[in-house]
């Protein structure tokens, strides 16, 4: 708002001083910079001291809605707690306020912050806090060094607006940070941030345990892995399932979401990305010139950004570190569930799912011929086999192989398979519904997963099975699309299948 005013004012100045070039130049910087800390001192605090509202992730405190600088009192307690880092895996975290990341702090530029750091008497370690939003040596670290069962106080003026990381800076700092001692402090610009529908607090961190990823039990910190920068876990908000399933972030179609995204490190930088969204605005650190239309934004260790996007289409959006093995093998994954009406004009959902054979496309002719013959009521067994052979190569041969021999101990054979021959109706069901778990084929045990192939239509399945049961020495009657139709109607839609 204010910026618009300033901009308007600058334009007026330009108009007024059209004949006076130097004045015009002098006015320009007002509109394009905040002036940094030099302009951050908005005078002494006004009114009664305000107690800061602190929130646990993913919640964010409400806007300060203040027009004047105030004295803000922050009470933050360090707690050493043991809790789940992943399902069945416990870890002893050191925390600011009992959570990883620590409590979210929200103040306004120009505020005078009276900071009280308390170290719970049950703590084993001394701790302190270095806030990147502080102007002064150590960021408050020296003034807040606190033994267990004690409390420290220091005061600073928040001169620069922006989103800032805070962390423990007690030696050995790497270990204190690796154990979860970081969080975010937002210094609002004097005019506040534009209103949005949801604000969430997401912070990445890397964790180093003696045991492997998801190895059960209580896992101690592994110093050597930390020095080598080989994390066991890379997580949002300190636990593998912190924001998935019922704990997913929530929003509705038509709403705007603002994420305060921090990265505590200690080692990795984050390639932060939301699958299925484009960030309309990314404001790194305290930047007042947002970057627009960003797919993936870098969040450095010890850095943060404000990310905003408008939601057009319902569904689940997945927050990841796009250094993608971290997302799928180390836990850096969270979810945003968006409810609302689909908008097919923007995103259709799946419209077509068909076989594509690349360069072999020309040979789809037998499939077309078989379909025509079926419609005309003249379909022969040989036409079915010819069409099935093409479809088999496109859909089945990757696992069962063109030879029908499968892969030893992984994918069972179809050629001369006793399991297939024993029960042909069952084979129709397997193609439709998939098959998971142990079976024995020709005396060899298999324990694997075949996904449902229900995206194939009835005559395609009939043709494939007719081909399979009449190839590589197999021999049987043709299977009709009517038989497949019957089997499909007799079974429910398998979970995750096309239809």
């Amino acid at each position: 708002m204010n910026r618009l005013l300033i901009f308007g004012l600058a334009s007026v100045l330009v108009l007024l001083s059209a004949a006076c070039a130097p004045k015009q130049e002098a006015a320009a910087p007002v509109a394009t910079t905040t002036g940094g800390s030099v302009r951050g001192d908005l005078g002494p605090p006004q009114g009664e001291p305000v107690q800061a509202i602190l929130t646990s992730p993913p919640a964010v405190p409400p806007p300060t809605n203040r027009k004047q600088p105030a004295k803000v009192v922050v009470d933050l307690e360090v707690q050493e707690v043991t809790r789940e880092i992943a399902d069945g895996v416990n870890y002893t975290f050191w925390t600011f306020g009992g959570t990883v990341p620590g409590s979210f702090i929200r103040v306004r530029q120009g505020d005078t912050v009276e900071f009280h750091l308390k170290n719970n008497p049950s703590s084993k370690m001394p701790h302190n806090i270095d806030l990147h939003g502080v102007t002064g040596p150590g960021g408050g670290a020296a003034s807040s060094f606190t033994a267990p069962g004690h409390a420290s106080q220091f005061t600073f003026k928040a001169l620069n607006q922006g989103i800032y990381v805070y962390h423990c800076a007690t030696a050995p700092v790497g270990m204190h940070v690796a154990n979860g001692m970081y969080g975010l402090i937002l210094v609002e610009p004097p005019e506040g941030l534009p209103p949005v529908d949801h604000e969430y607090y997401v912070m990445q961190g890397d964790f180093y345990t003696v045991g492997k990823y998801r190895e059960k039990g209580t896992q101690p910190f592994d110093m050597q892995r930390a020095i080598d920068e080989r994390p066991t876990y890379v997580l949002f908000n300190g636990a593998e399932s912190s924001m998935t399933g019922p704990k997913s972030l929530k929003a509705k179609v038509g709403e705007t979401v603002r994420l305060f995204v921090g990265n505590g490190g200690p080692n990795l930088v984050s390639s932060f990305h939301v699958i299925g969204e484009i960030f309309d605005k990314v404001q790194p650190e305290g930047g007042t010139h947002p970057q627009e239309n960003v797919q993936t934004t870098l969040i450095p260790a010890g850095g943060a950004a404000i990310v905003e996007f408008h939601l057009e289409v319902p569904g689940t959006y997945v927050l990841v570190d796009h250094s993608i093995f971290r997302a799928f093998n180390k836990g850096a994954l969270a979810m945003l569930q968006v409810e609302g009406e689909p908008n097919k004009a923007i995103y259709s959902g799946k419209e077509v799912d068909e076989t594509y054979l690349g360069g072999a496309q020309a040979s789809m002719q037998p499939v077309v011929a078989a379909a025509a013959a079926l419609a005309a009521g003249t379909l022969s067994k040989q036409q079915q086999i010819d069409a099935g052979s093409i479809l088999y190569k496109g859909t089945c041969s990757v696992c069962h192989q063109e030879s029908g021999e499968g892969l030893a101990n992984v994918f069972p054979p179809l050629a001369g398979a006793d399991f297939l021959k024993a029960d042909l109706p069952r084979a129709i069901g397997i193609v439709l519904n998939g098959l998971t778990g142990p079976i024995t084929v020709n005396g060899t045990a298999y324990d694997s997963v075949m996904p449902p192939m229900s995206q194939l239509n009835d005559d395609e399945i009939a043709n494939i099975l007719t081909y399979v049961t009449n190839s590589w020495g197999n021999s049987a009657d043709a299977i009709s699309s009517g038989q497949v139709k019957q089997a499909r109607e007799a079974t429910g839609r398998p979970l995750g299948a096309a239809r």
Partner: protein
Amino acid sequence: MRGSGTIALSAVLVLGACGVAGAANPSPQVSVPGGDFRSVLAPAPGQDVVRVPGFRLDETPVTNAQFSAFVRAHPEWRRDRVTRLFADPEYLSHWSKADQADAVLADQPVTRVSWFAAGAYCEAQGRRLPTWYEWEYVAAASETARDARNDSAWTQRILAWYGKPATAGLPPVGKTPPNMYGARDLHGVVWEWVEDFNSILVSGDSREQGDPDVLRFCGTGALTMQDKDNYAILMRIAMLSSMEGRYTTTSMGFRCASDLKSAQP
């Protein structure tokens, strides 16, 4: 066994009969031969080896039972009589009585003791607190080596203690294996006061002389360390740096040392 002995002993003391041997007597000491030692904290600019003269060190940290006996003999150190300059309000607050530790705590290391109180205890035994260099010198030893600081398995074992929450009860003293000098419990049980804890801050390198806060910034602290990988020791130093002489915490205990010549037979 030791627990019941302590209770019996307490009863005797209440009756006024002193000098009975038992858990409340001072810990036996081990003899530590002197030597040259590369401390994590350089003693002076350009000098990285410390000469540690021979001394004697308590085999185990001081227990609640031992400290109870001291408090009864020196009631000015009761928590309800001590001056606040010498001990903060949490001093011995884990005892249900002002002059005696609960039986269940008897063999556990005494914690919630201030540096002043720890020093007074040692003095009452004709001993003193160890210096940082003495403590570090003995604590560098594993069961099989006088200097095990490059043994990654050993350091990982020490670090594991830091990962355990302090809310778990303390173990009785003397249950960890003796190190090369015969001393026990230097790691994995409690933090320990040292005589010169307050001067550790100014023992760094010359660039930081005159800045007693050097260790309060991890970054500069790490720069003055000679052995930056030795996080186990680094954390001891950080802990001691955070303390003042009257402070007490749930994990800070102590043991005593004595000079070889003044050592009791």
